[in-house]
């Protein structure tokens, strides 16, 4: 039997999650940025990372968004999902836009009209995974446009194989240069259909930087690509340096025997994410990435 969560509780949780997400970074990301700053040798690269770290501190101290691009909002929802959940998410986003505040980013694609609430047709984007759990789990990924605009999809052929995948990832990051606010996290979706590859690439960004891929072969590929990408010299903000990426995250799905879809979705250094699990008795557990089942 489906458990119906109180809509106003979900709305309140959404506001809190968004506040946490946009004003502070998960510890794994902060740690990775600190290590990057220590590892840079050029003054320009160090100064970029120093400014980033100072900015993160200031945002936390003042409880304001660390970046003015508070993104558009992608939600991942598991549990007893009904139509009310999405309604509560939408009202939570509108309230958060006013209260935190978030920048009103959602505009009509052609007229560019801005309703001012971040809530409109298609946004926030809510991905539902209905389960038999009694609890509802929400994860939000506020996605800024600088990195999102660098998204790329390649419909490779089976003959292109693993080498083709690696080449495409390298090409995409090199082409993006300084535009996606490096150091970035590189989300890669391999397999599925074209649309699934793109959504896997994005969802793979939810895995913290200190959690290895459970598949040893993919874990090795993530580490190899991370090392390779950091040899390019693009560096923080594309101004040169040793840290171009903080990590690579790969997700896979089976695909058509004649296809090899590969998608890359970049995440800027402001890798903002937050999770909340709401239990039927009203208890809420907050975190920074999806909880283990």
């Amino acid at each position: 039997m489906a458990v119906h969560m109180a809509g106003d509780l979900i709305e309140e949780v959404v506001v809190q999650m968004l506040r946490e997400a946009v004003t502070s970074l998960p510890q794994d990301v902060v740690d990775a940025l600190r290590r990057a700053e220590e590892g840079e040798t050029s003054e320009v690269a160090r100064s970029q990372l120093r400014t980033i770290l100072e900015n993160i501190d200031a945002a936390g101290r003042l409880a304001v968004p660390m970046c003015q691009d508070t993104g558009v909002h992608v939600f991942y929802v598991t549990g007893p999902v009904d139509a009310g959940v999405e309604r509560s998410i939408r009202s939570g986003v509108a309230r958060a836009t006013e209260e935190i505040p978030l920048r009103p980013n959602a505009v009509h694609p052609l007229t560019r009209e801005n309703p001012g609430t971040n809530v409109a047709v298609g946004l926030p984007h809510v991905v539902h995974y209905p389960t038999d759990d009694e609890f509802l789990e929400l994860t939000v990924l506020p996605k800024g446009a600088g990195s999102e605009n660098m998204t790329a999809l390649a419909m490779l052929t089976p003959a292109d194989g693993i080498d083709g995948i690696k080449r495409f990832v390298l090409d995409t990051v090199v082409k993006a240069g300084g535009r996606p606010c490096p150091p970035t996290i590189v989300g890669v979706g391999i397999g599925g259909t074209s649309d699934l590859a793109v959504s896997m690439a994005k969802e793979s960004l939810l895995r913290p930087l200190d959690v290895p891929n459970i598949d040893p072969a993919l874990d090795a590929m993530e580490k190899q690509l991370t090392e390779a990408l950091n040899l390019t010299g693009i560096g923080p903000m594309g101004l040169g340096g040793r840290t171009t990426v903080l990590g690579v995250r790969i997700s896979t799905a089976y695909c058509h025997t004649a296809s090899l879809p590969v998608a890359v979705n970049l995440q800027c250094w402001a890798a903002r994410r937050a999770t909340a699990r709401i239990y039927p008795d009203g208890r809420v557990r907050f975190g920074r990435s999806p909880f283990d089942p």
């Binding site: 320009v44 100064s47 970029q48 400014t51 980033i52 100072e54 900015n55 200031a58 945002a59 003042l62 304001v64 968004p65 660390m66 970046c67 003015q68 691009d69 508070t70 505040p101 978030l102 920048r103 009103p104 980013n105 505009v107 560019r112 801005n114 001012g116 800024g144 446009a145 600088g146 605009n149 080498d163 690696k166 080449r167 390298l170 090199v174 240069g177 300084g178 535009r179 606010c181 190899q224 690509l225 090392e227 390779a228 990408l229 040899l231 390019t232 010299g233 693009i234 560096g235 923080p236 903000m237 594309g238 101004l239 040169g240 800027c268 250094w269 402001a270």
Partner: protein, 196 residues
């Protein structure tokens, strides 16, 4: 070094690639829609609501709130300048812009326009929106708010705004092109490391 806006041609011609600077004085905040509308108004022979001659253009879409005391800038980091690549050469020459603050760099036609007219590109760290807001003392005014908060033309007063890196100078040099050249050289090693 502190630059005081508005800037003279000599001010910007003397800046060196890689140099760190801060800014005091007025900034014109504008991005995609400001470029499109300003150039359209100019083509129609209409005046703009502000005179940007010798001014500094900041590629940014800020978060701004308003209370009884007026506008307050909450977060105001730079946006990706490359989106303005196609419009920037005209914008620089039409409106006499002396410096552009942004992130990620701009393409060769803009680098050439900067050399020709005497203009520089100053890189601010992308995403460093709270530090940027701390470098803005007050909002002088806003125009074209009908385009939405991120796209409006904001006029603000900078106070020790930075640190900024001179990433494109007024002599045709671009730090981004230098890095791109290095990246091309490094690519062989990067490919080898990834097993290609």
């Amino acid at each position: 070094m502190i630059l005081k806006a508005p800037l003279s041609e000599d001010d910007v011609r003397s800046l060196k690639l890689g140099q760190q600077v801060y800014i005091d004085g007025p900034l014109f905040i504008g991005r995609d829609e400001v470029h499109m509308r300003a150039l359209e108004r100019r083509r129609e022979g209409k005046l703009l609501p502000v005179d940007m001659e010798d001014g500094i253009l900041y590629h940014c879409g800020p978060i701004v709130t308003r209370d009884a005391k007026g506008w307050k800038v909450i977060a105001a980091g730079p946006t990706t300048s490359a989106r303005m690549n196609a419009l920037e050469p005209d914008f620089i020459s039409e409106f006499g812009i002396r410096a552009i603050i942004g992130k990620g760099g701009m393409s060769r036609p803009t680098v050439d326009a900067m050399r020709e007219h005497g203009c520089v590109y100053l890189a601010f760290t992308g995403g460093a929106a709270v530090l940027a807001a701390q470098g803005i003392a007050r909002v002088r005014g806003v125009e074209w708010l009908d385009m939405g908060m991120p796209e409006a033309l904001w006029i603000v007063e900078a106070k020790h705004f930075g640190p900024l890196i001179v990433a494109i100078d007024a002599h045709g040099n671009s730090l981004y092109e230098k890095v791109e050249g290095e990246v091309r050289k490094n690519l062989t090693e990067a490919m080898r490391r990834s097993g290609l």
